[in-house]
């Protein structure tokens, strides 16, 4: 009788264990499924945020370009063509020197318009390359006569084409800040394979001060998008150095 009861107990125990095991496995599956779905949702949200950030960076680059074009037409091509107009109006037969000057001016206007036309193309950044673009920007800055610039290339930064726009926009933003706020007269840009630094000899600033916070957060966020880091070192009256560290972007 005892043996029979034991056998019955064993069978019940086995069935109970099977039920518990089945339920445990099912609960575990449901738990991991929920976690997996949450992670997928999170990834999708991040992707959307990333795309939005890229889009906004591209729009900013576009705006910057338009401003540059407008300024270029107004200050450069417009001035040259006005001069050409004046020359042609005052040109007398036999004034070959004046005619040659006018031809040179027209050629310069054509070259400047070609450069502008290239920068209108959204693929221009990838086509021209980061180094040339930064060099062009420095040239533009130098043209104002208020700054001396230098460019040192120790190695070409490795950046995927998709992230080039963002990096270029970051460099442009730093250069704009130097022009607007630093009071510097010297800008040095240095490029290495994994690093880009922008240094000025301006009045410096406190990176942790609240009024500087938003711009820096914006810069940090963009850096995050391209898996880069931003380091800022600023000493009052001695200038600022901004370093972009490119982590296998």
């Amino acid at each position: 009788m005892l043996q029979v009861q034991t056998n019955a107990a064993i069978i019940i125990a086995v069935i109970l264990m099977l039920v518990i095991l089945s339920v445990f496995v099912l609960v575990l599956i449901l738990y991991f499924n929920n976690k997996r779905l949450a992670s997928i949702r999170e990834k999708e949200l991040l992707k959307i945020e990333y795309n939005q950030a890229i889009l906004s960076a591209q729009l900013e680059v576009q705006e910057q370009m338009m401003r540059q074009i407008s300024q270029e037409i107004h200050d450069n091509v417009g001035q040259i063509l006005s001069l050409v107009n004046l020359n042609l109006k005052t040109l007398k037969p036999g004034e070959t020197e004046k005619l040659e000057t006018t031809t040179t001016l027209v050629n310069k206007a054509i070259t400047d318009l070609r450069t502008l036309s290239k920068s209108l193309n959204p693929e221009a950044i990838a086509k021209t390359g980061l180094i040339q673009l930064v060099k062009n920007d420095l040239e533009q800055i130098e043209k104002t006569g208020q700054f001396t610039t230098s460019f040192e290339l120790k190695g070409e930064p490795v950046v995927p084409v998709s992230k080039l726009t963002i990096l270029y926009r970051m460099i442009q933003e730093v250069l704009n800040n130097v022009i607007k706020h630093s009071g510097a007269d010297k800008i040095t840009v240095e490029m290495e394979t994994g690093m880009i630094s922008i240094e000025d000899n301006g009045k410096g600033f406190n990176p942790s001060a609240e009024q500087n916070g938003l711009g820096l957060i914006n810069l940090q966020q963009r850096a995050k998008l391209i898996n880069a880091e931003v380091k800022i070192d600023s000493v009052s009256t001695k200038g600022t150095i901004v370093i972009f560290i490119l982590n296998n972007t």
């Binding site: 029979v4 019955a8 089945s22 099912l26 449901l30 929920n34």
Partner: protein, 220 residues
């Protein structure tokens, strides 16, 4: 009329399957309706075996085992993603099993309960439901919320049911011959209804989720 408590769950499940039959079709679970009709007819007949002049209800349950096995084979063939070779193998195993079941019923276990058949068919149903759950869990192309997936609840119910019944009805002859009881009733009579309640509760959830799934479909 003698109706056991677990039969109410079976009837409720059948009614749900009738009401939401169209929704079941959308999730390839439409065979739940004929399966539930079979279950209800068999259980009702088994409870009133005296009307049919039968001493035991083994023969009636054998009809259920054959019918249910065929329905489950067709259902899993629709639910499981298989390539051509695996599908051929699947149907070969199904046909071979059915041939064995008929041989067992007609010659080996004639007039008695069939340990081999019950063990084999319930074990197969357990494996198939595990495979379906694994497939739903590991689906990378279209990850779904399993707790809201009718197929998951169908497979989960069958998995728990088949895990228990494989042991319980596989040892049917042993339990009967050795008078293994719980609360004064043979083990399969004491535990069987509880397992049935769990199974048909899960099936009911599955059917209700199918109806919700239909509501979420865009109207064309």
């Amino acid at each position: 009329m003698n109706v056991a408590y677990y039969q109410y769950f079976q009837y409720a499940c059948m009614v749900l399957a009738i009401v939401f039959y169209r929704s079941l079709k959308l999730r390839s679970l439409q065979l739940l309706l004929p399966l539930m009709i079979l279950v209800c007819v068999v259980e009702t007949a088994a409870h009133h075996k005296e009307y049919f002049g039968m001493a035991t209800n083994y023969e009636i349950y054998k009809c259920y085992i054959v019918g249910a096995a065929i329905f489950y084979y067709i259902m899993f063939a629709k639910l499981l993603r298989m390539n051509k070779r695996i599908r051929i193998l699947y149907w070969c195993i199904a046909v071979a099993t059915m041939v064995f079941v008929f041989i067992d019923f007609l010659w080996i276990s004639r007039g008695n309960s069939s340990t081999y058949t019950t063990t084999l068919t319930f074990l197969q149903q357990f494996i198939l439901s595990c495979l379906l759950i694994a497939q739903l869990t590991m689906d990378d192309t279209q990850p779904v919320k399993l707790s809201a997936d009718p197929q998951f609840w169908f497979a989960a119910g069958l998995m728990i049911f088949a895990a228990c019944t494989t042991v319980l009805f596989g040892l049917h002859s042993y339990i009967r011959d050795n008078h293994l009881t719980l609360f004064g009733r043979p083990l399969y009579r004491a535990l069987g209804p509880v397992i049935n309640v769990v199974l048909y509760l899960f099936y009911s959830i599955s059917i209700l989720l199918c109806s919700r799934y239909k509501q979420m479909q865009p109207s064309s």
